[in-house]
Structure formats: structure tokens, C-alpha cells
Amino acid sequence: MTQTASAPVGATGDPAAPTAGRRPRRARPRRGRASLGQALLWLGPALLLIFGVVVYPAVELVKASLSRYSITGLRKGDAGLDNYTNVLANESLGTVLTNTLVWVVAVVALTILISLGLAQFLTKEFWGRRIVRWAVIVPWAASLVITARLFSLIYSYYYGTLNAVLLKIGLVDTPIDFLGDDRWIMPSMIAVGVFVSIPFTAYVFVAGLHAIPTDVYEAARIDGASPWQIWRRITLPLLRPAILVATVLNMIYVFNSFPIIYTLNESNPGFSHDTTITFMYKLAFKSAEKDVGQSAAAGLFNVLLILVAVVIYLRVSRWREEEES
């Protein structure tokens, strides 16, 4: 694992597929230059898309965050930075940020851990593997709103199947109020978050595991390495790219996850179990603020927050990589 000078970035059209064994030479572009017109022709559709779904909404969002809105949604004039200061002054902001941190860290960490194990299992040959693989995909294929609704029924205090089972096997005497008891709400939501994040993550790891050449394992076995050593010294380091991709994407998905928290937290008043995403929504439409401007400001904070979180994560993981080498 020696560190060589980094290869030129910007290889043409080569997506970041984790094909670990490929030589960089193949990806190096020819130096012939296309004319500006030609380049624009190729880039056009992508640029249009980026402008339409990223730049334009971003501009509108910034504009909205600097405007004063009536409760009806009517723009009343400029607000300066009032919306930003109001969001920062919101008495629930601390709770919401803590909730967000707990939610993202817990869901991502648990997802990665469970998926690592699951991926190992899924790459083994066994009877019915195909069925198990399909089964793992199902939570991913189902709409998040439907999954969340389903879980709100499973968790229900009076009719929930989970409580019925727990009571039946005598684990509890009285039903647990999974979605109403302050101690249980967050863990219950995290469980659902992990449930829907596992399929994607596990499949990224399955792909990563398949990309590891078998001769490395053979060599290790001949040298007398124990299974734990093999996993710790070979599998895990070679899975690094996959883990990195999975972590970053999951951080973003989970941070932006709306339906699970909104649905499972529906009957709880206030912001006590909201993350910054549902906080933003409630500011605009449900809470006493009912202010599109404040919500837009909160939205910009959200973008910053996830950007900073991702950059910090990448910094930290790169720093460790350099230390290892």
C-alpha cells in the first residue's frame, strides 16, 4: 500500500466505479482538444440539467431566504438577514441539531457495521442465496413513505404487531409507546433508518468484495494468516473505497431523509424529535412560525451543514490513510 503520486484527475467519462485492479494508463485522456462548440454540445444536456435542478433552485432559495413572507406565502419585501437570525435564535435549534447528529451518526454507523457483515454473508455460496439477495433489496425498492407508514403500524401502542409479540413472549408487561415515549422515539426511528439504508450499502460492499482479487487471499492463507487477520489486514483495507463511497452517500441520504422522521414523529407536538430537515419543513408549513423565508434560510443552513460534514469526514478518512502508509 505505498503511496505514489496521484494520477491526473479528470479522466474522461470514467465513472468512479470501484474497479480496483484497473491501471490508470487506460483512463488517461488523449491530449487532442475539442473546439469550444463541440465541448458545449457534449456538455449541454448536463449543464442544462445542473442549471435547472441545482443552480436555479439555489438562486431562488437564496432569494427566498432574504425575503419577508406573510403567512399566506405572499412576499412582503426584503428581510435582510432577519430570517437567518430568527432561525439561529429559535429556542428548539439546539435540540434539533442534537437530534440530527444522533440520527445521522447512529444510522450511518449501524448501517455500515451491519452491511459489512451482511455483505460477507451474501458473497458466500449457499442454497437460496438468490432469494436472500432479492429479499435484501426489498426495503430499498419500497417507497420510504410506505415503509414509514408500515412501521408506524408495527410500532403502534394499541394495535402494533411489535408490542403484541413482546407481550406474548413476556418480554414486557405493558406495551411500549415506541412513537410517543421520549426515550423510545429516536431509537425507533433509527431502526427504520437503518432498515432502509442497509440494502444499498450492503450491495456496495458486495461489489467491493467481488473486486478483491482471490490471489491475495490465497497468498495470505499460505503465509498462515488467521481468518481475523485476513479480514482485518486484507478485506477491510481493500474495501476502503467502497466504505468511503457508502459512508458519504449514506450521510447525505440519511441527513436528507424526510419521510421516516416526518411520518413516525407525526403525533408528537413541537420540535423535540425533529431533525434539521423536518424542522425546515415545519417552519414553512406546520409550526407557529409558518414562514417560507425562515424555512429557506434553514434550508441553506442545511446545505452548509451537510457540506461541512462530508468535507470533514473526507478530511478525517484521508488523514488516516496517509498515516497508515
Binding site: 503511496q3 394499541y158 407557529a288
Partner: protein
């Protein structure tokens, strides 16, 4: 190996940034697809197409009614009525987005109007209601639909609350008549709870869906109100007493689990499952119960705090408001003229299981003995102060905070609400 890894890191970083931005922004700007079809913008010309955004009261009847109405409207006026039905969960968001994009519908069906009137977006009744229609509307609703002395909120239908009780549970608990006072009510709730086997004395929904409704009817029966003589009285002595009484029901375990986090629909569902002794309901609940035929229930006036007090009811009406747009006035007026024709408005109300908003409607509904309890009280029903734009925000604050009084201090909760109401929401 090292090179590929660092290249991946780069790619992941930029990919991550782009994705993060895109998702976050997509999340923020969601719901802008409000449709661009609202006619009537062509300045100077008369609109021949108007758009109605209506709330979905029921899957079965709402769309069916408005579709038929649009056909009748076309036949009568030659104008086209575009109908968009939106669920109650989404309608606040949709209407807000439409106004924000400067593309409101011509007619909007909502449970609030005063903020829109305050923003000068609406036609008043003077512009779009015929005199015969206006004089037919019930006084209570004309009052609740008027902002600054002018009517802007035309009522589409109404409801009134009453106490529903489970006859079977009452019989098992040895209760012979519905409670008339709060003391009797509490004693009855105790008796039902004592039956065991999952029986719940009273279904108390103070969750965010509609806690202002539940609290309203109890406060009215203790002589309290949200506003009196133009001043907010949310934390009046009576109201603190009322909320403390509701809290005592919870602490004495006479209610379902966690009433501060129970939504109205959940309480109705529990009552419909036959577990609950009493619940405050309205005519659509009766329709559901009649259809399911599972619970034998009775309907009684609300118990009052004072012995021998006059039972008060809580009335609710929703509104059909008309947005000022160039050239749409005549088409909008024709809409109201048709809607308030007896065979239209009353058949809508009948299908949805609600109560009339017109004097002629009351006459027509009188023959229905099941509605007798509500109809008598309807003209004198208390409403929430929907005529004050501040209420639109206070209502949300109440929904998001009232439930916390079940585990916290009722007075502190009401003090806070009072303060925010006085500060203008």
C-alpha cells in the same frame, strides 16, 4: 492501489458535494409543481376558465361532487371550472406555494381565510355574493367569515361537536345517563376505566392534528374563550382550570395512553374499536360508526363545569375564498351563485356527513332526527376566532404546544401561548 484510492477520494468528494447540494435543494424547493393552468390572467379580458383548489373531505364524495359541479357550472355559465382536489395534509403547503409563485387559484377551499384577507388577496362578499345568498347564510358563520367588518370567508360546510358515548361500556359500568357536569363526567370515566380489559374512560386527543378543537369545546363549557371583547384570554383562570382538568384525566389514567401525543383520528379509531367510553365527536364520526355497525353509541350534549349549566358546542366551518385576479370576478360570482343553490350545497354537505351553513339548509336537514342534537345548537355554536389573522398563527402554536401540558405545567403552556398571541402570533 494508492493512486486509485486517492482518485476515488477526489471523485467521491466532488460527487458527494454535488449530490448533497442537489438533494438538499430539491428538498427545499419541493412542491413547486402547483400547476400553471389557472386561467384568468389575461388582463382586461373576462376569464372563461377558473380554477378551484378544494380540500378532500372524503375519498368517495369530494371529487365526485366537484366534478359534477364543474359540469353544472359549464352548462349554466359556459365557463370552465378546473378542479384540483388536495388532501388536508398537503393543502396548506400547496396553497402557500401557489400564492408564493404568484399563481393562486380563483377559489380556494381552506379552514382559514383571515390572513389572506389581511394580505388583500381576496374578494369580499360585497363583490361576489348575491344578496339572496348572503342573507341565507347563518349569522354565526357570517360573523366568523368577516374580517374588519367585511365578509371574505364564505362557509362551505360546518360541523358541531358533541359527546359520543359507548352504550355497551356504559351499561357494563352501570351508568344510566350521559354525564351532565364535569364531576359526573369524571366519575363515569372512572367507572369505565375500572372495567379493565383495555377499557378507556375518555379518548382525549391533544396531539398536533387538532388540539385546539378538543380544548375549545371544554373551555367553552367552563365559560372560557380564546378571545373576549377583542382581547386574547388564552391564559384566563377558566382556561387554566380547564386544561388542568384535562391533565387530571390523564394523570388519573382515565384516558388512552399519552393523550398529549394522540391525534384526533387515533382517538376516533379507538372509539370505533369499542374500547373507549366517551369521545368528543362530530357527524362524520357518526357516519363512520354507522357504516361499521360495531359500536352501539349515543350522542349527548357536552357536560358543563357548572352544575345546571347550558351545554355549549364548538362549531367549525371551512371556507371558500375567492382570489382577486384580473377579469375573474363574474366567473367567481357565478361560482358562488351556483354553489349556494340548495340542491348543490346541501347535497355536498349531506354526502360528506356535515352540517348546513344556510338557514334554508337547516330547514332541509331538520327532518333528519340523527342530526337533531347538532342542529339545535348550531346557530349558537362557538367558533374559534378565525376572523382574526393572528389566530392563523396562534392555532399552529396551540397545535404544536398544547399537548405538552399533559406532562408539563398547564398554566405555563397557556401563558406562553397568550404571550405569542399578544405579540401577533
Amino acid at each position: 492501489m494508492g493512486t486509485t484510492t486517492s482518485r476515488h477520494t477526489q471523485a467521491v468528494r466532488w460527487g458527494g458535494l454535488a449530490l448533497g447540494t442537489a438533494f438538499a435543494l430539491a428538498a427545499c424547493s419541493g412542491g413547486t409543481g402547483a400547476g400553471t393552468a389557472g386561467g384568468g390572467d389575461s388582463s382586461g379580458k373576462k376569464a372563461t376558465t377558473i380554477k378551484l383548489v378544494a380540500a378532500e373531505y372524503s375519498k368517495d364524495h369530494t371529487k365526485a361532487f366537484w366534478d359534477k359541479f364543474a359540469t353544472d357550472y359549464k352548462a349554466k355559465t359556459g365557463n370552465t371550472l378546473e378542479v384540483q382536489i388536495v388532501s388536508w395534509d398537503d393543502i396548506d403547503q400547496q396553497s402557500s406555494t401557489m400564492v408564493q409563485n404568484n399563481n393562486p387559484p380563483d377559489i380556494l377551499n381552506l379552514n382559514a381565510y383571515a390572513s389572506y384577507a389581511k394580505d388583500d388577496l381576496l374578494y369580499s362578499a360585497d363583490d361576489v355574493l348575491s344578496d339572496s345568498v348572503k342573507s341565507d347564510l347563518l349569522e354565526a358563520f357570517v360573523k366568523s367569515g368577516s374580517y374588519n367588518g367585511k365578509m371574505y370567508g364564505m362557509p362551505d360546510l360546518s360541523s358541531a361537536r358533541a359527546m359520543f358515548y359507548n352504550k355497551k361500556l356504559f351499561q357494563q359500568a352501570g351508568i344510566t345517563a350521559a354525564p351532565k357536569t364535569w364531576d359526573e363526567f369524571k366519575a363515569d370515566a372512572k367507572k369505565v376505566s375500572a372495567l379493565g380489559n383495555g377499557a378507556i374512560g375518555y379518548g382525549l386527543p391533544l396531539g398536533p392534528e387538532e388540539s385546539q378543537g378538543e380544548f375549545s369545546i371544554w373551555m367553552f363549557n367552563n365559560g372560557g374563550d380564546w378571545k373576549k371583547d377583542g382581547k386574547w384570554t388564552i391564559n384566563s383562570a377558566q382556561n387554566v382550570e380547564t386544561l388542568s382538568f384535562l391533565k387530571s384525566l390523564s394523570t388519573d389514567k382515565l384516558t388512552q395512553n399519552n393523550p398529549g401525543k394522540t391525534n384526533r383520528q387515533d382517538a376516533f379509531d379507538l372509539f370505533a374499536s369499542g374500547k373507549v367510553g366517551m369521545v368528543v365527536g362530530f357527524s362524520p364520526l357518526a357516519a363512520t360508526l354507522d357504516a361499521a355497525k360495531k359500536v352501539d353509541y349515543g350522542v349527548a350534549p357536552m357536560p358543563t363545569k357548572a352544575d345546571g349549566g347550558e351545554p355549549q358546542t364548538f362549531g367549525v366551518t371551512d371556507y371558500l375564498m375567492a382570489f382577486k385576479k384580473d377579469g375573474n370576478k363574474d366567473a367567481v360570482k357565478a361560482f358562488y351563485d351556483l354553489y349556494y343553490q340548495k340542491d348543490q350545497v346541501n347535497s355536498f354537505i349531506k354526502a360528506e356527513g356535515f352540517l348546513p351553513v344556510t338557514k334554508s339548509g337547516i330547514e332541509e336537514f331538520k327532518s333528519d332526527t340523527k342530526l337533531a342534537t347538532y342542529l339545535e345548537t348550531l346557530p349558537n355554536a362557538h367558533l374559534t376566532p378565525t376572523d382574526d389573522p393572528t389566530w392563523d398563527k396562534v392555532k399552529l402554536a396551540v397545535q404544536q404546544n398544547l399537548g405538552t401540558a399533559m406532562t408539563g405545567d398547564p398554566k405555563a403552556v397557556l401563558d406562553k401561548l397568550q404571550k405569542s398571541a399578544e405579540a401577533g402570533g
